[in-house]
């Protein structure tokens, strides 16, 4: 569905704001993964951002359940929340709700992708984050391991976001560092699982060099597993990398450990987009959609890390 | 029908029998049979058991004629419950045959036995008989609802009629169909369990009773005897019951088989069936009075 949104965006966004200057008083942020630390950060930052414009921010409590998300969105549409920013757990499933929202004259902003029925979207490519990480790891492997060694991927195949990130990460790495042995692809998105799976992999492959995680949380578990099997925190022949830009991982990167990279989104950029995109739609702006950049942070990027950590605080 | 004379002779009038509330209208229902020996029986045998064996008992052979009430007397652990449960299909027999009238049956579970016309009232009312939280009507009519139903829909009116008839027949007090059975007294609970098999909706050829009046008071006990005897007399049901109470055997049985160590070791009937005779029979059969020792 990606990439087909631009013309329809303008058409749709014109509807709710024929006068071209409707003032928004409320924005609903529907972010289903409430268990992630990023959720709290986003809510905090976007609430502050919204307040600047005299807008109040509403949130849903989806608990990472697609069913709950669907019913909460329906509740909002029935309630006529004027602008909805939603991160659909299942993009296809959000289509009918988005259509209903537009039909009801509401603003619908898709977060993390795009739908056929929408006013605008806030995009960031999940695959791009994975690709960035895979490329950086491959580059490191070529430089420090002469293109040899062993790698384990901590993957996620349960949700779209995870599948995209996984694909980007594995494709980029195996393309650029074909000499490195892929010894494992294990499902892990939380530190516990990351820890125990990496430990098991290490028992079989004590000389494992790289662990790439679909999330920073899982990679952090792998990081701890490597440390607990006796790797020095700054071991030169080890590379761990993850995605998200979560605080513990960023700290580890900053400290110069073998946790060497994180493909991070800047929460502040996202929060700004969450408020500004619906406002732009309401104001009838021509091209309201936003592409939020994903950046890979490494040890050298001290300033960026500090900025990200500050946003997360 | 040779009349009740033989029975009266068989039952030594105990002092109890002279007391006003006891020995009620039982004799009205005395069945037309006082000849317990199978050879002389004027009525055909209804239940025929041959060389029945199972874990812990056997071989056991016995016959119960139409309308006859046969008691099984023995000490605790002698195997009476196992024999009855095996006849009812709750336990598997390892050998032997079982006939109801002309038909040979080998029940693998209670439903099979019921299909062949055999019903059991178990001794452990609480664990094996009752559904305490269900109503009296549900408790008694449980096996009958399906029989009475038409096209898988319950015949609610017929059910109520059957229950009311039954409540009157067994003298249920209070006769409230909706009361949870746990709220009835022990005697009335026993009547309800008994009523499960002796209502108008069901035809039972062979009625097995295990300790039919355990935990039941004097009045209800007499009523239960009356109902069971009435059933045997009027419908020709063959009654086989186990009891540990010699008084009960004398009061209810036409003939009594002595059970010890899983076998039938003796038989008493007619004038010889007295409490004293029963007690000395078990004593002779099992001179070592430690039945549970070998049992456990």
């Amino acid at each position: 569905a990606a990439g087909c949104s631009a013309p329809r965006n303008t058409a749709a966004s014109a509807e709710p704001s024929p006068s071209g200057g409707t003032r928004l008083t409320k924005i609903g942020l529907d972010y289903p993964f409430t268990q992630l630390p990023l959720y709290s950060t986003l809510v905090k930052l976007s609430t502050a951002q919204a307040k600047k414009h005299g807008i109040s921010l509403l949130t849903t409590s989806d608990n990472a359940s697609a069913d709950t998300q669907a019913s909460n969105l329906n509740t909002w549409v029935a309630r006529k929340v004027p602008a909805i920013v939603s991160f659909p757990m299942v993009f296809e499933a959000a289509e009918p709700v988005a259509k209903a929202a537009l039909d009801a004259g509401l603003i619908w902003v898709t977060y993390g992708g795009s739908l056929q029925h929408q006013s605008a979207d806030i995009q960031f490519s999940f695959r791009r984050g994975g690709t960035l990480l895979g490329e950086a790891a491959a580059k490191w492997a070529e430089e420090h391991l002469d293109g040899k060694g062993k790698i384990a991927f901590l993957t996620d195949s349960t949700i779209e976001l995870g599948r995209e990130r996984t694909k980007g990460m594995i494709d980029a790495f195996t393309r650029l560092a074909p000499g490195v042995d892929v010894v494992a692809r294990e499902q892990a998105i939380d530190p516990d699982t990351g820890l125990s799976k990496t430990k098991a992999i290490l028992a079989k492959h004590p000389d494992l060099n790289l662990v790439l995680g679909v999330t920073d949380a899982a990679a952090y578990g792998g990081f701890k597993a490597l440390q607990q099997t006796g790797r020095a925190a700054d071991d030169a022949r080890t590379f761990v990398g993850g995605q998200d830009g979560s605080a513990p991982s960023l700290l580890a990167v900053k400290q110069g450990t073998f946790y060497r990279a994180s493909a991070a989104l800047a929460p502040k950029d996202i929060a700004a987009a969450i408020v500004d995109v619906p406002r732009a739609v309401a104001a009838g702006k021509a091209n309201p959609s936003v592409q939020v950049p994903v950046a890979l942070v490494q040890h050298a990027d001290t300033a960026e890390i500090d900025a990200l950590l500050a946003q997360n605080a | 029908m040779s009349g009740p004379a033989g029975h009266d002779a068989g039952r030594t009038p105990s002092p109890d029998a002279q007391e006003p509330p006891r020995t009620p209208d039982r004799y009205e229902y005395t069945p037309g049979l006082d000849t317990p020996e199978p050879g002389r029986a004027p009525t055909p045998p209804r239940l025929i058991v041959e060389a029945l064996r199972g874990p812990g008992f056997g071989p056991v052979g016995l016959t119960v004629a139409e309308g006859e009430r046969v008691g099984l007397f023995g000490l605790i652990g002698s195997g009476r419950t196992r024999i009855l449960e095996t006849l009812y299909g709750r336990r598997r027999a390892t050998a032997g045959t079982l006939r109801v009238g002309e038909h040979t049956v080998s029940p693998a579970r209670p439903a099979d036995a019921l299909g062949a016309g055999i019903a059991l009232v178990p001794a452990d009312r609480r664990a094996q008989g009752l559904f305490p939280s269900l109503s009296a009507q549900d408790n008694t009519l449980l096996p009958a609802v399906r029989t009475l139903a038409r096209c898988h829909v319950r015949a609610l009116r017929t059910e109520r009629r059957v229950f009311d008839a039954l409540a009157t027949a067994v003298g249920l007090r209070p006769a409230r169909p909706g009361l949870p059975v746990g709220a009835f007294s022990g005697g009335n609970q026993q009547k309800l369990v008994l009523g499960r098999w002796i209502n108008d909706a069901r035809h039972v050829d062979v009625l097995l009773l295990d300790e039919p009046t355990q935990g039941v008071d004097v009045g209800a006990r007499q009523e239960i005897y009356r109902v069971v005897s009435g059933l045997a007399a009027e419908r020709g049901t063959a009654v086989l019951f186990a009891s540990s109470d010699p008084e009960e055997i004398v009061a209810l049985a036409d003939r009594c088989l002595i059970v010890a160590r899983g076998r039938i070791v003796g038989e008493l009937s007619g004038p010889g069936l007295t409490e004293q005779a029963l007690l000395s029979a078990v004593h002779d059969a099992d001179p070592d009075p430690l039945p549970a020792e070998g049992a456990a």
Binding site: T34, Y39, V43, L58, T59, T60, S61, N63, A64, S65, A66, D67, T68, A70, S71, N72, N74, T75, A78, R79, V90, F91, E92, A93, E95, P96, S157, T158, I159, E160 | Y88, R90, R109, P110, A111, A113, L120, P122, A127, Q128, G129, F131, P132, S133, L134, S135, Q137, D138, L142, P143, V145, A149, H152, R154, L156, P177, G178, P180, G182, R196
Partner: protein, 327 residues
């Protein structure tokens, strides 16, 4: 005890005794209080659109809650319904989408898949006598793995015919609500007027006594397992139709706990032998209304979570004290 008695002594579908009904189902009072509070605070809780939304959401819950309640009454339990729901939705979507089968065929395929899962549960629990908790928990994991293995990618675009299942309006009422109503009525009728309905209670109260009464103590719960599986698959197909998409990894995740909660809050005892379909309906509406009202009220996420937890405990308190005060 009393709950069973309640249902059993009066074979009517939904008790009509007014005050008696309320006394026997104190959840009704809580539900009314909840509705009043939410209407007063949000002003839009009772809007037809909102009520319709609650009903549609509650519909899938109700479709599975009814057979699950029967299963719990008979002394068993099924935790695998969340995964069965996903499998049902996937099979239906696959048939309708990839294979362009008619909605009827798609639906039948889903129901067959559900029946197979239910039959496996039933054989293991009823005939082999294994612990229903562990068996169905194992099936929850295994069926989810199977669904993801078979359908690793999300399915969508099932066509307008299939959309009818979830989207049609029958006399102005959404199709899922109509299906749920039919299931509720069938469940209530089953308990009230069929012999097997009596057997369900009897088996739940005293399995041994039921066996000795000549009841099929294995076949009836086995059938209920199959029906529960079928109902879960049906709910999955309905959801797939409403959303026009299914994802093997997330569809119906956590659904088993939601349904079980509705059943237990609705006054069905986990130990078996007691419960009513009216109670289940109230439990489903309570959970659906609570979720909706909290969202309408804009309660912050984590407070919502706390409120839901507390409401559950309150529901338990009520369901527990009800029978006593009801006497």
């Amino acid at each position: 005890m009393t709950t069973a008695d309640r249902v059993l002594t009066r074979p009517r579908l939904i008790a009509t005794g007014g005050l008696t009904t309320v006394r026997r189902n104190p959840l009704l009072l809580v539900l009314v209080a909840m509705v009043v509070v939410f209407q007063l605070t949000t002003g839009s809780f009772l809007d037809p659109a909102n009520l319709g939304g609650i009903a549609t959401d509650a519909a899938t819950l109700a479709i599975v809650a009814v057979p699950l309640a029967l299963l719990v009454i008979s002394g068993y339990l099924d935790l695998s319904v969340g995964s069965t729901l996903a499998l049902g939705g996937l099979v239906a979507g696959w048939l309708a989408g990839q294979h362009h089968q008619s909605p009827a065929v798609a639906l039948l395929g889903a129901l067959a898949a559900g029946a197979v899962v239910g039959a496996v549960n039933g054989v293991l629990c009823c005939y082999f006598g294994l612990s229903a908790f562990i068996v169905t928990l194992g099936m929850l994991t295994a069926v989810r793995g199977l669904a993801q293995q078979l359908f690793p990618l999300p399915l969508s675009g099932f066509g307008s015919g299939f959309a009818w299942i979830g989207g049609a309006r029958i006399a102005g009422i959404a199709a899922p609500v109509v299906i749920a109503a039919v299931v509720l009525a069938a469940g209530a009728l089953f308990l009230a007027v069929t012999p097997a309905g009596r057997h369900v209670f009897a088996i739940g109260v005293n399995r041994e006594a039921a066996h000795l009464s000549g009841i099929q103590v294995r076949r009836t719960p086995f059938a209920l397992f199959v029906v529960t599986g079928v109902a879960a698959a049906l709910a999955g197909a309905v959801k797939a139709s409403v959303l026009d998409s299914v994802v093997a990894g997330t569809s119906g995740a956590g659904f088993e706990l939601a349904v079980l909660t509705a059943v237990l809050v609705g006054g069905v005892a986990l130990s078996g032998g007691s419960g009513s379909i009216l109670g289940v309906l109230l439990g489903v509406l309570f959970l659906g209304g609570l979720q909706n009202g909290l969202t309408l009220l804009n309660v912050p996420t984590f407070w919502q979570q706390m409120a839901q937890g507390v409401a559950l405990v309150a529901g338990a308190a009520l369901a527990y004290f009800a029978p006593r005060t009801g006497r």
